[in-house]
Amino acid sequence: MPKRTDIKHVLVIGSGPIVIGQACEFDYSGTQACRVLRSEGLRVSLVNSNPATIMTDPEFADATYIEPITPEFVEKVIARERPDAILATLGGQTALNTAVALAERGTLERYGVELIGADIEAINRGEDRQRFKDIVRTIGGEVPSSAVCKSMDEVRKAVAELGLPVVIRPSFTMGGLGSGMAHTDEELDRLASSGLAESPVHEVLIEESVLGWKEYELELMRDRNDNVVVICSIENIDPMGVHTGDSVTVAPAMTLTDREYQHMRDVGIAVLREVGVDTGGCNIQFAVHPETGRLVVIEMNPRVSRSSALASKATGFPIAKIAAKLAIGYTLDEILNDITGKTPASFEPTLDYVVVKVPRFAFEKFPGADPTLTTTMKSVGEAMSIGRNFVEALGKALRSMETKAAGFWTTPDPEGATLESTLDALREGHDGRLYTVERALRLGATVEQVHQASKIDPWFVDQIASLLELRAELEDVPVLNAELLRQAKRSGLSDRQVAALRPELAGEDGVRTLRHRLGVRPVFKTVDTCAAEFEAHTPYHYSAYETDPDAETEVAAQPDRPKVIILGSGPNRIGQGIEFDYSCVHAAMALRDAGFETVMINCNPETVSTDYDTADRLYFEPLTFEDVLEAVHSERASGTVAGVIVQLGGQTPLGLAKRLTEAGVPIVGTPADAIHLAEDRGAFGDVLSSAGLPAPRYGTATSFAGAKRIADEIGYPVLVRPSYVLGGRGMEIVYDEENLAGYIQRATEINPEHPVLVDRFLDDAIEIDVDALFDGEELFLAGVMEHIEEAGVHSGDSSCALPPITLGRADLAAVRRSTEAIARGVGVRGLLNVQYALKDDVLYVLEANPRASRTVPFVSKATAVQIAKAAARIMLGATVASLRAEGMLPAVGDGADLPDDAPVAVKEAVLPFHRFRTREGKGVDSLLGPEMKSTGEVMGIDASFGKAFAKSQTASYGSLPTSGRVFVSVANRDKRAMVFPIKRLADLGFKVLATAGTAEVLRRNGIPCVVVRKHFEGPDNIVDMIHAGEVDIIINTPYGNHGPRIDGYEIRTAAVAKAIPCITTIQGAAAAVHGIEALTLDDIGVRPLQELQAILHKSRA
């Protein structure tokens, strides 16, 4: 069946900001979809509020709406664009829920828009847990026994029948939000009531526990001719009870016979047909009883999911791309498999390697959060690896994490760990559980004991046991020979791990030297969907060690074009996410256009960068020194490497620059010694002072005594942090000596190599973020962003505006002068990010990063200049002048002299507090500080600041209210500044609630208000009111210095639980009032980025 001719214009809905449970996999799928639809000659409109995505680049759609993904805003887009169809199955749960809402409010019918992929009925059948269970039973499948409950009474009744433990699953939430396992009545009360609250339809499913059963997933695709194929099977090493996003998973399934696998496949296909997903991908989860083999269906996602992205990267079968083609009418047999170029997509990929995915967590960012893994997803990212056997893939995945532990034996055991305590720890899912498995075995546990404790299938446990046998051999053998070394490498051990067992080899470098001398090097194989049955035409490679020294490597020679290797950013984590992938992808696009062969190295399966279509060649490899060096070696063997780019993937590749340079690898762009100049505080201080630039006074200490001396000298408050970090890891504002002592004590790793930095903290300063390009001669000031919150909140967590709304010409001139001096002083070639604090007309330099920053995509979209592309070109020898001449940069001017009618863009951070609970089940504190906590961001863009800000708020957590009650409680120093904004809110019709002290000031200024009790003042206090839904917006600035900064915890966590805006700075309050005014007084419209950018292009012409 060929393409449908009745669809000429499709609206694609994206997934919005990166949050836990919904990350860059939907940029990958959405980008593929947009590409496919446009190449089929369709008009594509797109809605997505996330500026850091590739899909929102203006060239990927005909009309790109960077607007909130809410039914209201999407309806505006539909009214303006009048698409024939909406594709909502590639934008995660956000897009799917929006599509359901649009159908329910009659929008689709009103505008005659068809949902393609899955229709409303199919979505409801797949997502409504009770209907879904009925469907599974209809086709003869089994499900866990369960009951749907709409109240706590119903919950208790259900549990009386099923018995504890039970699983609680709220309907229509993503990433398992609000779900969990209740072993006790208390846990049941807590989880079920919050589950009822989290579910948009106030419904939870109470389910028989299948805790400890084997867990599997199938990725399936169906076309409109009812052809169905299974793309991939995935086995979770962590058995049922841990969310699949938090589990270590393996593809293909390792411990199923064909009979069991085919039964699973039959049930999966029958479910897919019965649910009626017309076309596209879907994901079905199964649990298998380990002793009886009873198979039950757990759930289905009638859309492309995180697992689909993993399956696509694991097999080479591009699920989203094919799903988009199927949605517009093609059938699987009409679509060619890109990789073979000959065979059709109507087949099932077969693997001749093993894929392991390991989740990346960020519990260290949320002190107090319960790190136990449950059915609520908590991980913030993941890495995937490919090896020729399980242990090889596992080793590569573990060292892709970039955590302290880089595979077994790379960190000391926890102190006092006994066999008993270790086995005990295995009973619950936790970050690093496989390390615990290894330790248990090493301490003498049997495979069976470990299996009993963890319920991890004995096959996997035994695989880890095999590594311990190998370890013994490696330790005992007198001389490490080629055969044993090869065996170690074939089992996934890194040089660093081998070095840990053989101290005489002088570390990782010594092992590598020996290994190279013995000729033990990896070969590079190809991911080809077909286990080598057909020739592959896509260079998608992974490394493997074979026993046979003559094993062939499949990297083709390519002597014609110079190659540029781009190092990606590894697993998403807080502080390093999709923004860096965006820059890497842009570099690949720009350099390919400039005649280079581009080579990507990365290990994050969610990303666009690891799409085999992005760069000319893809190495799916860990970003460790060893693995990168081998990939570079392979590329050098196949042609000329012009250079390696370390500047775009965040701190991960930047951290490799020095060693790669020392190993003779050509780094292009800012050289390693210049990177050191910017990152080393002493050296950077010299750069600043020789340029005459002021910086907050600071000192470097390696002990409490030293830190105290510095703090006494420069005065409190001080900002303390370890050196060389990203995302403000471990950074704190310290207000007195006692807290300083506490900080030093907690920061365990302070030594001369890792000193602690003590900076004067500038209270009440305006923070300015700058992204710039420098070619050695000329500076291109790409974007100047003014933070809405004052300095002290991490730049990644604060909202900002571009153009800077309150900075004058003189300020901008100072920013330009300082930035150029730093770029020149450091020796930047490419991108530079500088953070300034403006206080009392003095522009202080806070820090400079000679690399792409998180704001690069935001700046590119707000200013209509693609700076990551320009940076990549500059790194390879182009100049600002030459790029101006060829049109990549504007002919004149830059991002600091935007025209008066330039649209205003506001970036707002998205925070994950609602996903975390303490062990006691309470919320974690949502107060912002110098350590970054946000997972993603949104952009609001419009003609004025108020509208743009309002959009950014709507897109990030819901909307600013336009009426209702505002609760105000501010610090004394803020009382004066508060009056005007609160008065405005009262004038706009808000009822004002305030604490006694604040109320006094407000009344004196003629603002009527109601006094409410503070949290500790007894019942019916403000926290109770928030929980009761009686407050619509909160303005609560922390009281001055030390203690009160942690006060207000209850208010903030209540606000998080109720998802209402909680503003903690006066500047934020002023911005919110701007936004509320815009919402109240204007009809906020939608405009595509292409139109907004045309204003900028016109003014530059």
């Binding site: 390792m254 064909d258 085919q262 109507s346 004995p458």
Partner: protein, 377 residues
């Protein structure tokens, strides 16, 4: 140190370690791309005299159970894998794969770079090979000589070697509706099971059976099974198929049976370069345009074009199914006689169940032919 070697007839040697029985084994080397189902594959009689390479790298994980054999023994001549399981894990497992191989004297080799090997076979075609381990390990030339002295698959008549010696009956499940005579050229256990589940009593006859033997069963239908070897040698089975067609008894063939029916209709067979051995192979039914994902295991194919119609002594026939990967003929249908066949495996085991409906088609065909059939009871 070399402890086992796989030697190909073109002189290429792949080192490895002994797996299963030690010794030597000769056969045609083919690769199989299934990620599950090694137990079914190894016990599939169609693999007689073939050395099978598993492209899936981790083999033996689910051990060996007492239920999944597709025949009474392991038939492959040798087994080439990369990473053997140390510990099988499955609730049905009774022993390790290595134990099963060893107890049946099947020589295997592990630790081989199976991907390089597969790419080599893909480019050079299936060829003769030998696995040598233990005392059989010799210098390269000696091993190569042994390989070169072994017989070719082209021209090999092997169906008789794997056939049952005695007729046996698989009773219908529930009420018996029909009786089918199945000629055993290497039938897999699941085939009679699939028919029995549909109310068919299956009489499995030795390959050497005559037309009279077949008719003596008073069959409502005749089935031609899968099997090893070169179909061009199977004149005996071809004659039986022609006899069945002449009597207008409903005929269904699978794999080797498809080639037999094709030959009975006057078409010829040829050897594929490296064959189809996997459980992920798409087949398109020309009548509906629908795709089935099928289990396949064939080194030979029928000469012809997808959709081609041709005249036969039994009326018009057409090539009804094809594989879109390479356009090989995957199915055949007589338009004027009650006969059809497919090159793939609707009985699966191992493999997907997409094509199971073909057994229902066979039942329907038998049903349709009931009143006017020849060979009264």
């Amino acid at each position: 140190m070399l402890t086992a070697a796989l030697v190909l007839e073109d002189g290429r040697v792949f080192p490895g370690m002994p797996y299963g029985a030690t010794g030597s084994s000769l056969g045609e080397i083919v690769f199989s791309t299934g990620m599950t189902g090694y137990q079914e594959t190894l016990t599939d009689p169609s693999y007689r005299r073939q050395i099978v390479v598993a492209t899936a790298p981790q083999i033996g994980n689910t051990g060996w159970n007492d239920e999944d054999d597709e025949s009474g023994r392991i038939w492959v001549a040798g087994y080439v894998i990369r990473d053997p399981a140390r510990k099988p894990s499955n609730w049905r497992s009774r022993r390790g794969l290595d134990e099963a191989l060893e107890s049946q004297g099947v020589v295997g080799i592990a630790g081989v770079d199976t991907r390089t090997l597969t790419r080599h076979i893909r480019e050079s075609g299936a060829m003769r090979a030998g696995i040598f381990s233990g005392a059989a390990l010799a210098d390269k030339q000696q091993m190569l000589d042994a390989v070169l002295a072994s017989s070719q698959m082209v021209g090999a008549d092997l169906a008789g070697e794997v056939s049952t010696e005695q007729t046996y009956v698989v009773p219908a499940v529930g009420e018996r509706r029909f009786r089918v005579a199945a000629l055993d050229s290497g039938i897999k256990s699941n085939t009679p099971r699939m028919m029995a589940a549909r109310g068919i009593e299956v009489h499995v006859l030795p390959y050497s059976s005559t037309m009279d033997d077949l008719l003596a069963v008073e069959p409502d239908g005749v089935f031609f099974a899968n099997g090893p070897g070169d179909p061009a040698t199977a004149d005996h089975a071809v004659a039986l198929a022609q006899g069945t067609l002449e009597r207008r008894v409903p005929l269904f063939g699978i794999c080797f049976g498809n080639q037999i029916l094709g030959r009975a209709l006057g078409r010829s067979t040829y050897k594929l370069r490296f064959g189809h051995h996997g459980i992920n192979v798409p087949v398109i039914d020309r009548a509906t345009g629908k795709v089935s994902i099928t289990a396949q295991n064939h080194g030979f194919a029928l000469e012809g074009e997808p959709g081609e119609r041709f005249d036969t002594p039994f009326g018009t026939a057409e090539f009804s199914h094809y594989c879109p990967n390479d356009n090989t003929v995957e199915g055949l249908r007589c338009l004027d006689a009650p006969a059809f066949s497919v090159q793939y495996h609707p009985e699966a085991a191992a493999g997907p169940h997409d094509a199971a409906g073909l057994f229902d088609e066979f039942v329907d065909l038998i049903q349709l032919c009931q009143p006017g059939r020849v060979g009264q009871r």
